[in-house]
């Protein structure tokens, strides 16, 4: 499923799905405008055609990136995309309650994910499957929350990847507080031994209209918190175009809060990697916070519950396919003979196997014990909650036939 043609119409030659509504003229214009307005400030190191373009300011941040590393970034993106497509299909087959596709945002997430150290903390929204991958969380671990069998699925302290936050923008406050803590505990400033820390907070263009995001900006700014605000501007807040969120490019908002903002091509994994490394480095040395606007595109629906054909043209999607984050790396690798057919075949085989395992895991996922939902609500034992739990477990045990 890596051919762009198969993304929206898995059966080649099939037309768009029939729907009751069509996008308004206003939305069409807003959506198409986004395809041409990355702006001159957009940091890009790899063009959609796979050409490496020099950049005086950011080249040094990826000077150490080897061919092997680029192949690794490509492999990451292929596997993450495959896991995403497989999970999307599992939802359509009734195996997941909902799925939030990341299709098209692989480069933005892998770029920043691979720029982070293990000690850097991440506060995701609910679409950061690629960042989770970089943090060592398997696609299997992500499924619980979407299948409704788990409230999280991973140890957020050990992985340094906070649980998914469904409330829009809410994680920005948590991240600001966490990053302030990093500074108060002296983990910022001296990075000579590589122990300095930073935090990355993820949110979308829609979240920038939320009060929580504003508050997070203010707190992080005035306390010089080592926090990278990583905004994936995927052009659509469900059905609302970015034009309805801001009258000026989102990265320029940072200036009003008194910290730097930068716009990077979110479909360019090298540029995202370089800019993220720069931003994290600044934060670790006490020059945070920084806002990164990763200019990208949500190729699929907002969630499996959404029908994007109601508010945007497939022309727009087609245009963005030309800027596909995977294809440009693939072309780059081939053109400069940095990878051979065997490599691509091996990645394909690996993704096939991973998809089959993910499928198998999902179909056979056990239902968790009833009492599990009471776990991890408070950090310390809580008598009232324990009483509720015991009462409920007793109640459920009263039914004949099975533990739950």
């Amino acid at each position: 499923m890596s051919s762009p043609d198969e993304w929206t119409h898995p059966v080649p030659g099939e037309g768009p799905p029939a729907t009751a509504a069509a996008p308004t003229a206003e939305r069409v214009i807003a959506g198409l405008r986004a395809t041409s307005e990355g702006g001159e400030d957009l940091v890009q190191l790899l063009t959609p055609e796979g050409e490496r373009v020099p950049n005086e300011r950011f080249d040094r941040y990826i000077a150490d990136v080897t061919d092997e590393d680029i192949r690794g970034l490509y492999r990451d993106m292929v596997l993450v995309r495959r896991a995403d497509r497989e999970s999307n299909a599992l939802q359509r087959q009734g195996q997941l309650g909902i799925w939030v596709p990341l299709l098209g945002q692989e480069a933005a997430q892998i770029g920043v994910g691979r720029a982070m150290r293990h000690t850097d903390m991440a506060f995701p929204s609910y679409r950061e499957h690629g960042v989770a991958w970089c943090k060592g969380i398997t696609p299997q671990q992500l499924l619980g929350i979407f299948r409704g069998t788990d409230n999280g699925g991973w140890d957020s302290a050990a992985t340094r990847f906070h649980p998914y936050t469904i409330v829009i923008g809410n994680q920005v406050l948590n991240a600001a507080g966490y990053a302030m803590g990093q500074r108060f505990e002296g983990k910022v400033g001296d990075d000579s031994d590589g122990t300095a820390e930073a935090t990355v907070c993820f949110f979308g263009d829609g979240a920038t209209s939320q009060g929580d995001v504003h508050e997070g900006f203010v707190w992080a700014s005035v306390y010089d918190a080592p926090l990278v605000f990583f905004c994936q501007n995927n052009q659509w807040a469900i059905s609302e175009p970015t034009e309805r969120q801001s009258r000026l490019p989102l990265y320029q908002r940072a200036r009003g809060y008194g910290f730097p903002g930068i716009r990077v091509d979110g479909n360019d994994v090298l540029a995202t990697l370089a800019v993220s490394r720069w931003a994290l480095d600044e934060c670790r040395h006490g020059n945070g916070p920084i806002l990164i606007e990763a200019f990208t595109y949500r190729m699929d629906a907002h969630t499996t519950t959404d029908d994007p054909t109601r508010y945007r043209l497939s022309d727009e999607v087609e245009t963005w396919k030309l800027k596909d984050p995977l294809e440009r790396v693939r072309v780059h690798l081939i053109r400069h003979e940095m990878a051979d057919d065997a490599f691509f075949e091996q990645v394909q085989a690996e993704s096939d196997q991973m998809a089959a395992e993910l499928r198998d895991y999902c179909f056979n996922m056990p239902d968790p014990p009833v009492r599990q939902m009471f776990d991890n609500v408070y950090s310390e034992p809580h008598p009232y909650l324990e009483a509720q739990r015991d009462e409920y477990v007793d109640y459920v045990a009263g039914f004949a036939g099975g533990e739950h």
């Binding site: 799905p17 029939a18 497989e86 359509r92 009734g94 997941l96 959404d306 015991d390 009462e391």
Partner: protein
């Protein structure tokens, strides 16, 4: 061996209960691969393509395109092991997927279990039985648990009632551990806590099952048991109230009005008109031999004005056909005249009023209202109106917000004609003034059409000579 698996319609969004099958992309006998698109469905939210969960051969489609099916209904069956020798049984028919499930190996059925957010109908409707009461009462069951158990046993009816344990006392329901200092604080809002403190009430004594303690509960605890509430009505209801059965015209009117008010979004507009010229014209016509033997009421003028104005705004003379999802524009006017009769509200129709002269309309109204007052109006005479005038003016009332007769889209209330101060050419003069109000169904008629129609009727009454323009 062939292994048959049936694919239940999933909930593709959050909490959908059904979907329409738009088109099948596969047919029986087709080989399918995992994630191959097999069907397109349309839910309340979106048109969605469903990928196949298994590889194999399609053996049967259970639903037709165009059919709306509940989530959880098997929509197709796939043989996931078609290479197996000697297929014993044909694919299960539409009605028998459950049979095939039960016949299958346990593991196969396990895969088909409802998993997230929905369940197949059979599973959803089933309620698991409780264990026997004996099982519940052994060991140290907590008070809370026995409360639940007891409540359940009571529901089971008299057969098992004798065996159930006696209901436990209700109040000291809180587990003892929670009563210890520092362990648990009863839930109550800050003002209620303050009140309890002021009144010297211990909130812990009021805690029941961890429910939030209300202001009432605190006040009640402070003042002791509540007094039994017996309301003294002060009079014998039977002697001073009269009860009339709802039937006949009253019942019909009530049904029609409720149905209209709650299906058609009503908009009412008002217009005050100087009808002096019309009244002068009427006085003139009364002396005309051709109108000698007819009662030429202002209502007749109003009816004629309506018939003329409809020509310019046919939208008000239409019908919202909900079933057919069409708006029916009528090229004729059956004008309903609302008449108050001893039996209640009767609305006889002036048939084809648009083709009538003023004299003919006046005749018809006179005749119809006479029949109505005698209570002799036939149901046929009241059917199939296209527009209604309610003459509230005869009751000396200025205006109202009439409710549209079901099956029509507009109604005009014709108010009383009074001598009123009116500004004519910058001077206050005594003129004949009346109010018109038009209610219309906003599904069909917009403000522009409604206003135009009302203004036209007003203009015709204010200056009957403008009729020559139609």
């Amino acid at each position: 061996m062939p292994t048959f698996k049936s694919f239940p319609l999933p909930d593709t969004a959050e909490g959908l209960t059904e979907a329409e099958i738009l088109s099948w992309h596969v047919q029986p006998g087709d080989e399918v691969t995992v994630n191959q698109i097999i069907v397109e469905i349309e839910t309340a939210k979106a048109a969605v393509e469903l990928p196949c969960p298994w590889a194999g051969v399609v053996t049967e489609l259970h639903v037709e395109p165009g059919q709306t099916v509940d989530v959880g209904t098997p929509i197709l069956t796939i043989d996931t092991d078609p290479g197996g020798a000697a297929a014993p049984a044909p694919a299960p028919a539409a009605a028998t997927p459950s049979t095939s499930d039960s016949a299958e190996a346990g593991s196969g059925e396990e895969e088909m279990k409802p998993l997230v957010g929905y369940g197949s109908k059979a599973v959803q409707a089933k309620r698991r039985p409780r264990k026997a009461a004996a099982a519940a009462s052994d060991g140290g069951a907590t008070v809370a648990r026995s409360t639940v158990q007891a409540a359940f046993e009571r529901q089971q009816g008299p057969a098992s009632a004798p065996e159930s344990p006696p209901p436990p006392p209700v109040v000291p329901d809180t587990p003892a551990a929670l009563m210890e200092p520092g362990g648990y604080v009863p839930l109550a809002k800050p003002p209620v806590r303050k009140l309890a403190k002021d009144l010297g009430v211990d909130l812990r004594a009021l805690a029941v099952n961890g429910d939030v303690i209300t202001r009432d509960a605190v006040q009640q605890a402070a003042s002791g048991a509540p007094e039994p509430s017996t309301v003294d009505t002060g009079y014998d209801a039977a002697a001073r109230e009269r009860r009339v059965p709802i039937k006949g015209v009253r019942k019909h009117t009530a049904t029609a009005m409720v149905s209209s008010a709650f299906t058609a979004p009503h908009v009412t507009e008002f217009l005050t008109v100087d009808v002096t010229p019309m009244m002068e014209f009427r006085a003139k016509l009364k002396n005309d031999p051709r109108f000698r033997d007819v009662k030429l009421t202002p209502l007749a003028f109003c009816a004629k004005a309506v018939c003329l104005a409809v020509q310019r705004t046919p939208d008000v003379n239409a019908f919202w056909d909900e079933a057919a999802q069409e708006i029916v524009y009528k090229e004729y006017v059956h004008l309903g005249i609302a008449a108050a009769t001893p039996r209640g509200l009767i609305v006889p129709k002036v048939r084809d009023a648009d083709g009538m002269s003023l004299r003919q309309i006046a005749d018809s109204i006179e005749q119809l209202t006479a029949v109505a007052r005698e209570g002799k109006t036939t149901p046929a005479a009241m059917a199939n109106g296209t527009f209604t005038i309610t003459n509230v003016g005869v009751f000396g009332v200025d205006t109202g917000t009439p409710i549209i007769t079901p099956g029509e889209v507009a109604i005009l209330a014709f108010g009383a004609i009074r001598d009123m101060p009116w500004v004519v050419d910058g001077e206050i003069m005594v003129r004949k003034v009346c109010q018109l109000s038009l209610s219309f169904d906003h599904r069909v008629v917009d403000g522009q059409q409604g206003s135009q129609f009302l203004a036209d009727v007003g203009a015709l009454l204010a200056d009957p000579a403008t009729a020559i323009l139609y």
